[in-house]
Symmetry: C2
Subunit: 139 residues, 2 copies
């Protein structure tokens, strides 16, 4: 069904939350209390996002995570790639497939995959938030 993994979903939720608190460090504890997510799992996800450079972290009391760039500059595709790997509908779009020789839909699938990639690259985390939500996104 072309499902997002929970990791991606939680990650996007957390990033959207961070987007609503610009420049502020938010701890995992705070985020999971607000969003009601499994704490350890979200921690794992944010670690990955941190390693990948979409959020930055500080430790200790008052620490937490915040966005490195504004949410308008963070396409969904980027997040999904970090948390799940390349956006690809089939093997051949990411690695190789041993059926390529006899496959009659590869090029067609390539086109669909591109379209879906475009959707995910054109939409940003900022656009995930409902129109008049929480806070302005000004920096």
């Amino acid at each position: 069904m072309l499902r997002l993994t929970r990791r991606s979903e939680y990650g996007l939720m957390a990033l959207a939350y961070l987007a609503s608190r610009p420049r502020e460090y938010c701890s995992v504890r705070e985020i999971v209390e607000e969003l009601k997510l499994p704490k350890r799992l979200l921690a794992e996800v944010l670690k990955d996002l941190s390693r990948a450079g979409t959020v930055e972290a500080t430790r200790g009391p008052g620490g937490g995570y915040r966005l490195v760039r504004s949410a308008e500059e963070l396409p969904l595709a980027r997040v999904v790639e970090i948390l799940e790997g390349p956006v690809a509908m089939t093997d051949c779009m990411a690695q190789t497939c041993e059926l390529e020789a006899s496959c009659i839909i590869q090029t067609g699938i390539g086109r669909v995959t591109s379209s879906i990639r475009n959707v995910l690259e054109d939409m940003t985390v900022a656009e995930l938030l409902p129109a008049s939500s929480e806070a302005p996104l000004a920096v």
Copy 2:
């Protein structure tokens, strides 16, 4: 990674093959020989497509499957829905999700899901085939 299942992939390949042999009954044996797919699995997939009415079958020697309508009228979304269930990036797009109360991205995710649905509804099995569509491909 938003992957298609193998069932969908095999299904699409088989349908594309049938599209290249209009009105002709093709047996599972013939199709898997041509496309090098696992026989029993493709049989299972075609059964599902048959139940759903996108292909029709006749049994016995010379039997097999063929498209009910032309491939131009068969959107990818239809095939994926039959073989995997509703096209939905998240639970809430298909059933319900117990996080909906605190979820801040649901509406946003809804928009992305719609876009992806549109991509899959706008593209048909006919368009999967490489440029010279109707040309029989084997030999």
